[in-house]
Subunit: 369 residues, 4 copies
């Protein structure tokens, strides 16, 4: 490491312009630490929410929680999460969330995604103190000991990792909680990143028919390419009863075996319960933000004998599975083609605006050009 | 059969007095049919709803869907659901719901509780045409071919069967859908018949601690006798936050592994989701009536990674399991002691009034005195 | 129906030539009965075993338990298992096994595949008495009331149904008992009909990598076409340790998540347990015949924490699923191309010989030319 | 700590007398380490095997893997596995196995019981180097950082912890892998420590009837006291067919829903598969030692549609569950009464002999008198 300082895009206040600043790079790495030179840092819709102050995160903050980079330095004998030794020059990605490993959720309930003390790079890791570089929107990223790092296979493009982003592992975790059985009918509510990920996995798991409800048109086109048998455009079919009618038509008149909510807006849940056949399974995968209570009828749960699952965040083994999926199935599910916009570090504000206005497919920051 | 007619309590209009009428008894039984002389007919809260016209049922109707009687006549070689031959004098009970066995729910989805053409004795079986006697509130009950009849073991009191009523099979079905694992912490919401049944099964399955939220006091006392470790009286602890506080106190501070809603009022569901620890399981067992939508926050499903199950009605194998439970565990869970009021056939209106005003434990009609 | 008699190939003694005989056709059909003109009758390896007297079946017998035909006559308002009305001219297939619906396996345990009184067309349905035509190797097939009949979709070739045969429903049932999770590594032991079916479903369910151990070469080629990533030729790699070495090489060094035995020879089970990683799942799908005990080490079950499943026969809903799979995925899994030999009714003995000597892909009898 | 050395019983060669030696106590504890003064050290049948050299363990060794003691010293802010702070004087026990947390079994497959680098106190932790005290048969026990320590509740007797020993957590783990459903019929093969533990959990989980096959008589008496409905004495009923007959008699004629092998001798498995009803579940819980292959018929797995599970070792959350069970249910399942023999440290050889000759209930070493 010859450079002694590096640049990062730092959010110092909500709703204000983000500024690029210089921070000193660490002069040495402690046992288990790794320093990475960032290649691609995905911008997620969550970053827009963070910038608007809609989640309580500490400032100043270097955002960016979907990152690929190249190992610049390791301390001692480091290896990736699956045991592959790491060395300078290796292309890597990593899990953003770091559970404490000691609370009751981590230990007793084996639910580290609900760890009481969870740290997430780019989300609740303020940058005012060394090692500063704890988010993706910087030239470097410092990885603390214990981070689950994954060396990327040569035939796995960095663009696929960032194109899939944190949405894919969210889907992998969700389907671990509520496994698809072979040849079930599946409705995906939502055509955004999580919807597309949930769709790709369902397609790969043999879902049939596979129906997407969402928009806009270009996203639905992409859904078709990723395996949707039927797409229902909410801009065209505005009446939920009509949308339900289309679902019934393709599922033998009774509704789908499985419905996966990937919308984020709570009203989708009310619509979704009626898309299931009785005895069907419903997954609430998109309600990450607390939008408060909405009218829902619990009578349907009893009467329709529904099974409903929630899933939050992800664990390292979901990343392992996601990365291998991206590699092995890149022809069938070309996540690497989703990146539509590339921005320099200095263009972070421009990038946030573009993502906020839904003008982009996947937007990425390239902090090193 | 020497009698040629018999009496039954017939509902001819909602909210009107029920009158005892005579109907001719069948002069012969077709293949597979059984005629039973009714001993005890339980009165269920649902009968009150039926009488108020809150469910769309056909009239005139002989209500009564929890019945024990003695075989008066069988046609040919009849046997009970488990293969025991039936003969005159056998004490029997039977499943009330008769699925069609031919619709997609019966066949493809193996979910006969959601049969599209389900018939239920005492509920949607009008009595104006022969064989008339299709509900429990009559001196006789006619059982159509294919009814799942159970010969009662000698050491199983009829009072236990009626004391448990349809609430117990509801619970057996629910826990089949969402099995309890050994030694989980369980909260039962509701101390009525379904709550008590859900409690008894949970106690028998090793739940620990086992907490009941409900009232009034005498029901909570009964819950303690049936195995509750902690009871929370809603008349005393009126603040849901305080009730939650008590649950947390007994579940390591994070909430219960399992919560079972047996209240019927939809607001219980909103309270219930917050009684679960993250990653917990919730069963909506009591929402049989459609009380319309209420405010619920689906964000909790995602964030708390809840698993939610609904269950409706029951199948014959649940009855088999319930009857054997009542027999084998009658000392530990004395359902036979729940009957507090016995009424003659002519006192049906009086009985309905008593049940409606919550003045009874379990009320039964004894049509033959 | 103008014909009054029809021909069938009748086995009157084991190991003797089968002769074509005439039997009277029924002059009327009772309620629920259907008469079918047979188009294609698949010959299964089991038929060879039956002919050799290796299973205790009653004689005289019209064999044939994989059949497609055209409805010639129905009595009254008949409909197929999924409710579609049946009429003369409809192309149909049906489930061969008919459980009694009354024994404890049918009722209490909901395991009709283990029905104590199960009848199977072409297996334990002697033909000496009317309606005679109870197997596939005849010009007509009589279907008793209650048979699960399936009207075939227009875009589902009869050849696909027979090409898949009873092997496919065996696989569908097996994976219902032991569901595949998405993206697991799977080893299929055996490249025969059951192995190919198990492979096709695993491929469709997203198994990766998907490894087949078997032979001969042409069958392995077909496995590749149906989605196998790796094939191990037992004629080339004769040492089980070497076969295991290849499996480990493709599964990260520890063994496969899932291994499915489709060989029939018991020794495959001993080899198979060592192909699983610890904590893996093993399915014994092929041990239909009782070849007696073999040396197996139960220590591996404890130490490797294996999960082992057996599955036998099938139920109507497996047929529904299988037929829809054949229809929807016929491009990806061309079961209709498996038929290599067609024989006239009079050539049944020739056909048996060809199948016994493994000279055929799938052999079919075409009783009506 | 005033003492600078302490005594331990050291095995320096297999099949030789074990000698008591002195080793220096650590003069300081590193971060996370705990020093415990041993109160009770259970002697397990495995120790007899170890002493006979039947498992490849490193020497010299202080055996003892079931231990309760009192905290003598902690370094810094130590807390037990569930977060309770630890201080001098606390009564504690701990999990013996320490998985590496880094191999594929620990990480990818979340199966730490199959960790490739697992260390187990008293089994593969030689004592020739500091900190020496890594087994239960010493006056002190050194606990490395990361050991899952459990502070014992005041109302949980140390005798209960040692009386249950490693058998109970073995059972807890087994039933996690193959959960009991409420009110199943269960056969336990074996009346030794693992059998008794498997019986107690099944009783607590509502199994009915609960049948034990084993011996000798006093162990069967204990089984009755712990909840067995039926005991079959193998010394009296020597014919496996007759034993099967008794099981069928108590399970409706078809066999048990669940059979749990806790014998250790492989022949039990062959007998056990025939004790299950078709569609039943079988757990191989006792085959820890490799006794080589035995004749087993895999045809039964297919034909009976069995589900078979293996389980090995345990994890900390099983200990948490086991300890809470011992505490809460000590009246119903009095494991604390199982200790029949107490030996001083100098009597280890005598103790081994007593255990080897089955003369004891539970034998314990009391290294500090």
């Amino acid at each position: 490491m010859t450079a002694t300082t590096a640049k990062a895009a730092v959010m110092t206040a909500f709703n204000q312009a983000i500024r690029v600043q210089e921070y000193p790079l660490p002069d040495r790495l402690a046992e288990g630490e790794v320093l990475v030179r960032v290649t691609l840092a995905g911008m997620c819709g969550t970053d827009v929410h963070l910038h608007k102050g809609q989640l309580a995160v500490p400032l100043p903050l270097i955002m960016g929680h979907e990152t690929v980079g190249v190992v610049e330095g390791v301390s001692g004998a480091a290896s990736d999460w699956l045991g592959t030794p790491l060395k300078k020059g290796d292309r890597v990605s990593w899990t953003v969330g770091r559970p404490c490993g000691e609370c009751r959720y981590c230990r007793l309930y084996r639910l580290p995604s609900r760890c009481s003390n969870r740290k997430a790079y780019g989300v609740n890791t303020p940058c005012d103190q060394a090692p500063h570089f704890l988010g993706g929107y910087g030239q470097y990223h410092h990885l603390r000991a214990g981070t689950a790092i994954f060396k990327l296979a040569d035939d796995l493009p960095s663009e696929a990792v960032i194109g899939a982003g944190c949405a894919l592992v969210t889907g992998v975790h969700g389907y671990e909680k509520m496994p698809l059985r072979w040849a079930e009918s599946v409705v995906i509510q939502g055509a955004g990143p999580v919807g597309l990920a949930a769709l790709a996995i369902a397609a790969d798991a043999g879902a049939r028919p596979l129906i997407v409800i969402g928009g806009p048109k270009d996203r639905l086109e992409r859904c078709k390419r990723f395996g949707a048998d039927v797409v229902i455009d909410i801009d065209e079919v505005k009446d939920p009863d009509k949308r339900r009618g289309i679902v019934l038509e393709h599922t033998g008149g009774l509704g789908a075996d499985v419905v996966v909510e990937c919308v984020g807006h709570p009203a989708a849940v009310a619509e979704g319960w009626l898309l299931n056949r009785d005895g069907g399974r419903y997954m609430v995968l998109g309600q990450y933000c607390d939008a408060g209570p909405i009218p829902l009828n619990p009578h349907y749960i009893t009467k329709k004998e529904l099974e409903i699952h929630g899933s939050y965040g992800s664990e390292p083994h979901h990343w392992a599975k996601a990365l291998e999926f991206l590699r092995a199935r890149r022809d069938r599910y070309p996540f690497h083609e989703l990146i539509t916009h590339r921005f320099a570090l200095e263009q972070v504000n421009e990038a946030l605006e573009a993502v906020a206005s839904w003008r982009t497919g996947k937007a990425v920051i390239c902090p090193n050009g």
